[in-house]
């Protein structure tokens, strides 16, 4: 019986964070530890001619310098990952640039010194000679044959092109009454975790063992990266408290872990590296700028028969995440709609900008943006209500589980129901009246209503769908583990298989396990650091891909269930009853109705570890259980077949969003008057935690839409390397997001839970675009590009001065 799942429960992480007792990587000090600084390129595109560290090494407090020659000699390139699988020729990517630099801030070496100041001084003494090349900052320029290629091996900056077709797209367009087209653009942005990258590496040369402490989201990327690059067998990855991840701390950070480890190996001392804010903003990874040409084949009643889109991704100066924003669109390719035919075409263009990384939803905000902007366009073209057009195409609640055209299986959801509640909550008809009045007074008020799915739980085989040449998937489904132990004193210890970046994993898992074990969350402690030596982990041990609800909760649920069976067996033996006669309440195992027949967890703990003659002969001593979870409903479509259909993710949350905005026509600034979400995240385990995910993800999506983002000069110099230049929103600019839960529990997961992490970051940019366009409706302008900065709005408003005079 759920006593804790679904209810408020005191945070287990909170007390340490509010007292400053969280332990982040930078908080650790090891004896003899040196400090590292990274040598970075000041050029967007250049050949490295020579690197001379001799002057820096004169100072006895400078212990080592790593140069491109060292990187080439002492390390191996990373193996091409799943996102580089489509390259016609494999390209070696080392931890540092070895021949060329391809973006400002690209690491080309590193220094280890007694302290940070000395390391910073030493950087300035390293002489690097470059031969600058013409930078590519615009995707369309970059793919011209006359542009300087970033990778000589490719000979072109159009590094990858591919397409997928589901359903009969030609028939859809032939039978359409109308074809609606639009060009859309999304810019470069990032969730910019407040804790920057940091690493401590310590190498024991005698036993060839490398230990790293690192702020990272996916242990596998670090673990495999180190073993590949440094050719080591014995690697230990420890991930303490992580000060925000959002996708930033998955891929690029492995380069730095390798460079810092090299310094540790070279000096024989532990080495710490702490990235600074400007380094992070220029080289820590950006979400991909995406340009899309979309076409919808529609019937006059608003039915969308087919969707085609062609996408150009500005992937920056690396091939390692080349296709990620495109492939990721498979996760929510159908969004909430029944459209029977979809064609997608991707073009990944390398440019002299920061490499792209997965950021909160990766390609999913882009896919939702395409759908939701197109739904508004269809409504405009057919002179229908944009809500009616959506309703016409929505997958219905009674069609669940629903197989989408690309092979996803939507587990549960009531999309018309979410939309209905949303419209009621904002009192839509009244709002339209208010808008009318506002317009009469010359005020530009707008309402944006959108809907989006939020996929959760990653399938490692997904990317194979876009690579017909791939024979074997890089992995499939997902595996993650967890351990639970009843200690000698009757308390309980949880050991999770994946790191926590602030999503309350300790609190939530304790609630789940407490219900199963008949205990209370306060009796649980959680071993906090992820430790590759100790944690039970697999490919899905990732603070990414919206994995937690599926793989971690699944693993905890499984481990707790196993431990419960053990507890009952040991208790039954000692109470001389059958396990089926027992219940557990408040950490006491009892026979209901027989007050004398009971035994406490503490008593059982003492027996399990101390007292062999009280343990049944057919039972293992100790009270510990480990469970590795795989999703039991991962078939069909776990691996793409000839039809390229694949389950990109396994659960499908959803949210209907309403944005109500007012635009200042003099300054172009947009003020969010109200932002409301009616969400379905399945069974809510902890309402405060899920609300926090919804608020935070929505706030970021709104900020992304309204102006935060990265900018470059025509020379490829980053112009936004501080929070202020980048335009990060504070509490003063962020609207109060409201969240209403209307869950449709998943029939496939342990407790009916679905994802909540990427959450509202997926539909919110589309909601804001829709609302601003609605506000500007008297001007007859379209919002097709993010970010919608005051300048962008002002330009839209002043594009057609004739019209403005007529309206006002």
């Amino acid at each position: 019986m759920a006593k804790f799942v679904g209810n408020r429960s005191r945070s287990k992480e909170g007390p340490r964070h509010v007292t400053g007792r969280g332990l982040f990587t930078d908080d650790f000090q090891l004896p003899g530890m040196l400090q590292a600084m990274i040598l970075r390129s000041p050029h967007a595109h250049a050949k490295i001619l020579s690197v001379d560290p001799s002057e820096a090494l004169i100072n006895p407090n400078v212990f080592a310098v790593i140069t491109p020659d060292d990187v080439k000699k002492l390390t191996k390139p990373f193996k091409p990952g799943r996102y580089a699988a489509g390259l016609k020729r494999p390209i070696d990517e080392y931890a540092g640039a070895v021949d060329k630099v391809r973006y400002v801030g690209e690491p080309i070496g590193a220094v280890a010194a007694k302290d940070r100041g000395t390391a910073e001084d030493a950087l300035e003494l390293i002489q690097v000679e470059y031969e600058p090349l013409r930078p590519n900052v615009d995707v369309h320029e970059a793919i011209k044959p006359s542009s300087a290629a970033l990778f000589d091996e490719l000979g072109t900056n159009l590094a990858w092109t591919g397409s997928l077709q589901y359903g009969d797209i030609d028939a859809a367009f032939k039978s359409a009454d109308r074809v609606v087209t639009e060009k859309l653009k999304i810019h470069r942005y990032s969730s910019t975790p407040l804790e920057p990258f940091n690493v401590i590496a310590s190498y024991d040369a005698a036993s060839k063992r490398l230990t790293v402490w690192v702020t990272a989201q996916v242990p596998e990327v670090i673990y495999d990266g180190l073993r590949e690059a440094l050719d080591l067998q014995d690697v230990r990855v420890i991930i303490p408290d992580v000060g925000g991840g959002f996708g930033q701390k998955i891929h690029l950070i492995r380069k730095y872990v390798v460079l810092v480890s090299l310094l540790a190996m070279k000096t024989g001392r532990p080495v710490k590296w702490i990235e600074d804010r400007s380094e992070h903003m220029m080289a820590g990874g950006h979400a991909c700028a995406q340009e899309v040409e979309a076409e919808a084949a529609v019937k006059n009643d608003g039915t969308v028969l087919g969707l085609k889109f062609k996408e150009y991704d500005d992937v920056g100066g690396s091939i390692s995440t080349l296709t990620i924003h495109f492939t990721n669109k498979l996760n929510n390719l159908s969004n909430t709609y029944k459209t029977p035919a979809i064609y997608m075409e991707g073009h990944a263009v390398v440019t002299n900008k920061c490499p792209v990384i997965p950021n909160r939803g990766i390609g999913k905000p882009g896919m939702c943006f395409i759908w939701e902007r197109m739904m508004d366009r269809v409504a405009q073209a057919l002179n229908l209500s944009s809500i009616e057009v959506r309703r016409k195409n929505l997958i219905q609640a009674n069609e669940m589980p629903y197989s989408t055209i690309s092979g996803n299986i939507y587990d549960s959801g009531d999309y018309p129901g979410l939309l209905k509640t949303l419209l009621e909550k904002i009192d839509y008809d009244k709002l339209r009246e208010e808008q009318k009045k506002a317009r009469e007074q010359g005020k530009l008020m707008g309402i944006g209503i959108v809907i989006g799915v939020e996929p959760g739980g990653r399938n490692a085989a997904r990317d194979m769908a876009i690579f017909p040449e791939m024979k074997e998937p890089p992995g499939s489904g997902g595996v993650n583990g967890a351990k639970i132990k009843l200690e000698k004193n009757g308390t309980l210890m949880l050991h999770l298989g994946s790191p926590n970046c602030g999503q309350a994993h300790e609190t939530t898992t304790a609630q789940v396990a407490a219900d199963i074990l008949g205990s209370t969350p306060d009796r649980f402690s959680t071993s906090i650091p992820f430790d590759s030596d100790l944690s039970s982990w697999g490919v899905a041990a990732a603070n990414s891909g919206n994995n937690f609800h599926l793989y971690d909760i699944g693993a905890i649920h499984g481990a707790a269930t196993k431990l419960r069976d053990k507890i009952l067996k040991l208790a039954a033996f000692n109470l001389k009853v059958e396990p089926s006669e027992l219940t557990i309440e408040d950490s006491v195992v009892k026979v209901p109705g027989a007050a004398a027949k009971q035994i406490t967890f503490a008593e059982l703990g003492r027996i399990a570890y101390n007292n062999q003659h009280l343990i049944p002969d057919d039972m293992e001593a100790g009270l510990e259980a480990t469970h590795y979870y795989t999703f039991p409903f991962a078939k069909p479509n776990i691996v793409p077949g000839a039809d390229r259909k694949v389950r990109a993710q396994f659960t499908f949350s959803a949210g209907a969003h309403a944005a109500i905005v007012e635009v200042d026509k003099n300054t172009g600034s947009v003020h969010v008057l109200r932002y409301l979400i009616v969400g379905d995240n399945g069974t809510v385990i902890n309402p405060d935690v899920v609300n926090g995910q919804v608020y935070g993800s929505a706030a970021h999506g709104i900020a992304v839409a309204l102006g935060e983002g990265f900018m470059y000069s025509p020379e490829g110099q980053p112009l936004t390397i501080t929070y202020l230049d980048y335009g990060k929103c504070s509490a003063a600019e962020t609207p109060r997001v409201e969240a209403v839960h209307q869950p449709s529990p998943s029939p496939f997961t342990s407790l009916g839970q679905k994802a909540a992490g990427e959450g509202a970051a997926i539909p919110s940019p589309a909601a804001i675009a829709s609302a601003v366009e609605d506000a500007l409706q008297p001007f007859g302008v379209k919002v097709c590009e993010l970010p919608i900065t005051p300048e962008a709005v002002w330009r839209l408003l002043n594009h057609n001065p004739e019209k403005e005079r007529r309206t006002f």
Partner: protein, 157 residues
């Protein structure tokens, strides 16, 4: 050239030799080992390193350690007494006014300073007071609610 300074932190006097270029934030974290003060930008934009200097909230990355000579500092470690959270800390825990915990010490210190000055702030005043403290995780809703609740608690207590 190192200089000797005497700084009272959380009621205890620390006498240390420091380089003049050492920032107060690094002094707190590295010289005297109080790692609850976090560093997110080192240029005064993010507020993770906020502490109270002679009772006023400052960003410790914008001060040199030598500027704190002879003065009193309260860091996040100085708020709870014998494991008992103070009203702001308790309200933060209760309201889930944090996620990753990295901005939290700075948020708590700034909220503490606000409530000392203005025990009954409006939502707008809270948001303005916190505008120098960035949080990438929460969207600020639960932080604002925590400050409101702490204000209520302090009034009643």
């Amino acid at each position: 050239m190192k200089q000797t300074i005497g700084v009272t932190v959380n009621g205890r006097l620390y006498e240390e030799e420091v380089e003049p270029r050492i920032l107060l934030s690094h002094f707190l974290r590295e010289t005297i080992g109080l790692t609850g003060t976090h560093i997110g930008c080192v240029i005064g934009e993010c507020g993770a390193c906020s502490v109270l200097l002679d009772g006023k909230v400052v960003k410790s990355c914008l001060h040199f350690a030598v500027q704190a000579d002879g003065r009193e500092i309260t860091t996040i470690e100085g708020l709870a007494k014998d494991g008992q959270l103070n009203p702001v800390q308790e309200a933060f825990v209760k309201n889930y006014a944090f996620q990753c915990g990295y901005c939290t010490p700075g948020m708590v210190m700034t909220s503490q300073a606000l409530l000392q000055k203005n025990p009954n702030p409006s939502e707008e005043e809270i948001r303005k007071a916190l505008a120098g403290n960035l949080c990438m995780c929460t969207g600020y809703v639960q932080i604002v609610d925590a400050v409101k609740e702490a204000a209520k608690g302090m009034k009643n207590g």
